[in-house]
Amino acid sequence: MTSQADQQIAVGFTINGQRHDLDVSVRRTLAEVIREEVGLTGTHLGCEHGVCGACTVALDGRPVRSCLMLAIQADGASITTIEGLATDGVLHPVQQGMHDSHGFQCAFCAPGFLITAACMLESNPTPTREQIREELSGNLCRCTGYHSIIDGVETAVRLMQSGNESAGGEHA
C-alpha cells in the first residue's frame, strides 16, 4: 500500500447478466476487479500490459483488454467473461468447436481466445481462415503454434451453420 489510502469510487456494471455495484480503488484494473472482487477467475492475467490478450473480455459486445482499463471506466457497461459464454450448461459453439478440435493445450490463454472468437463470430459468422488469423493476432498462445486454435474456430463456424449440434469428436 501507499502512504495514503487509495481513493475509492462507486462503479456499477453488469457481468454475464448480473448487476454488480461496488466501491473500488481508482487504480484497480477491470481485470483485477473481475477476478478479485467479483470472484470470476476465468479471466486470466498474463502480461498485464496489453500484449498477450489473455484478459480479453467483451465490453458492450466488443473485445477489450480488461488489464488496460480502470474498473471505474467500465461504469454502466455490460461485460461478458468466459464464465458467461455457455448457457444453461450448453457450451458456446466456439467452446464446443475448440473442444472438438483439441484447440488448446495448457489453455491459460483460452479465455481471451474464446471471447475474441465469439465476438468475431457475432459480427462475421462466416470468416475466412485469413480473417480468423487476423482477428486472433492479438492473442498469444505459447503451446500450440495456433493452427489447432484456428481449426477450432473453423469447427465452431461449421457447428453454427449445422445448427449448433456437437461435431462429436470430429477432427478438423
Binding site: 501507499t2 495514503q4 487509495d6 481513493q7 469510487i9 480503488s25 481508482v26 487504480r27 484497480r28 484494473t29 483485477e32 498485464e48 500490459h49 496489453g50 490478450g53 480479453t56 465490453l59 466488443r62 473485445p63 477489450v64 483488454r65 488489464c67 488496460l68 482499463m69 480502470l70 471505474i72 471506466q73 475474441t116 488469423r133 487476423e134 482477428e135 493476432s137 492479438g138
Partner: protein, 288 residues
C-alpha cells in the same frame, strides 16, 4: 494492484478539464482510451500523480466528414473511425492506416487523438497527420491553439502540447479530386508496431502528371519523417513505377533509421525504399 497510485479526476466539461490541467501544473496525464497510458503505468515507465479522465465529457466523440475535410474529436475510438464510411471517403489515407493499429481489442478502446498525443515513433497516425498536413487543436485556460502537424511531433513520445493543454480534435483538410492514398508497413505480426511504415498520397493533374505528392515514414526516427526531396522529384512527372522507385531511393537515402533486434539500419533503409515505392503505387492506382 498493478498500477502505481494516482489521484483520479473526472471532469464533466472541457473547461473543467483544462482548469484541472492548469491547476495540477504538469503533474497530470489525460486518460481517454488508456491503451498507451495504462501500459506505461503498468510497466512503471511513468507514474503520473494525477489522472484526468475525459471519458465523461459530452461532445468529444464526433466524427465530421464531408467535402471540406474530416474532423475527429478526442474521444473517437480508432475502431469507430475505422467503421465510419464517410471518413473512408473523405480521408482515405486515415482509413487505410487505421486497421494497422494494434489489434481490434486495442482499437476498440484506443482513441485517434490519444495515439497522436502519445506520439510513439512507430505509430501509424502521426505519419498520416504529417502526410496530410493535418491540424491539431489544443485547448487550455489560455484559449484554443491550432498546431500544424509539421510542428506537433517534436521528439520521442514528445509533442508541442503544453502541460496545460488538451488535444481536443484533429482536422484533416479537404481531400481534393484525382488524389489517391497508399499505406504500407512491415511488422512482425499483424498489429505489432511497424518496423517501417509509409503513408503516401498522389494527386494527378488533368494531363495525368503528378501535381502533388506526400510521403511520410514511421518507425525510422524519433518522430515521423516527411520526405520533401522525394516529393519534389515527382512533381510534374508521369506516375510510373520507375519514377516511384527513383523517388523511393531518394527518400530512403535521406533517412537515418535506428537499429534494433528487429532490423539493422541498412535493412530498415532498404525496407523504407521498398515500402515507399509500394505505397506510391497503391496511391496512384486508387485514384478515381
Amino acid at each position: 494492484m498493478k498500477l502505481p497510485p494516482f489521484e483520479y479526476h473526472r471532469p464533466s466539461s472541457i473547461d473543467e478539464a483544462v482548469q484541472l490541467l492548469a491547476d495540477l501544473d504538469g503533474e497530470a496525464k489525460v486518460l481517454a482510451g488508456g491503451q498507451s497510458l495504462l501500459p506505461v503505468m503498468a510497466l512503471r515507465i511513468g507514474a503520473p500523480p494525477h489522472l484526468i479522465d475525459i471519458g465523461n465529457i459530452a461532445g468529444l466523440d464526433a466524427i465530421t466528414a464531408n467535402a471540406s475535410g474530416v474532423i475527429i474529436g478526442c474521444l473517437v475510438r480508432q475502431a469507430e473511425a475505422e467503421e465510419h464510411t464517410a471518413l473512408a471517403e473523405h480521408a482515405p489515407l486515415v482509413a487505410k492506416a487505421l486497421p494497422n493499429i494494434g489489434h481490434r481489442a486495442i482499437r476498440n478502446r484506443g482513441t485517434v487523438c490519444g495515439s497522436l498525443a502519445h506520439a510513439d515513433p512507430a505509430a501509424e497516425l502521426p505519419a498520416v497527420c504529417l502526410a496530410l498536413d493535418a491540424t491539431l487543436v489544443a485547448r487550455s485556460v489560455r484559449g484554443e491553439r491550432l498546431i500544424p502537424a509539421a510542428d506537433f511531433f517534436v521528439g520521442f513520445l514528445d509533442t508541442a502540447l503544453g502541460d496545460d493543454e488538451l488535444l481536443t480534435e484533429v482536422r484533416f483538410p479537404a481531400w481534393g479530386r484525382r488524389r489517391g492514398a497508399g499505406f504500407a508497413e512491415l511488422s512482425r505480426r499483424h498489429g505489432d508496431y511497424a518496423i517501417v511504415g509509409v503513408a503516401a498520397t498522389v494527386s494527378l493533374d488533368d494531363a495525368g502528371a503528378v501535381d502533388h505528392v506526400a510521403l511520410a515514414f514511421t518507425g525510422v526516427a524519433a518522430t515521423p519523417v516527411r520526405s520533401e526531396a522525394a516529393e519534389q522529384q515527382l512533381i510534374g512527372t508521369a506516375p510510373t513505377s520507375q519514377s516511384f522507385a527513383a523517388a523511393a531511393r531518394t527518400a530512403a537515402s535521406a533517412i537515418d533509421p535506428p537499429s534494433d533486434l528487429h532490423g539493422s539500419v541498412s535493412y530498415r533503409r532498404h525496407l523504407a525504399g521498398v515500402l515507399a515505392a509500394r505505397a506510391l503505387g497503391e496511391a496512384t492506382r486508387s485514384i478515381r
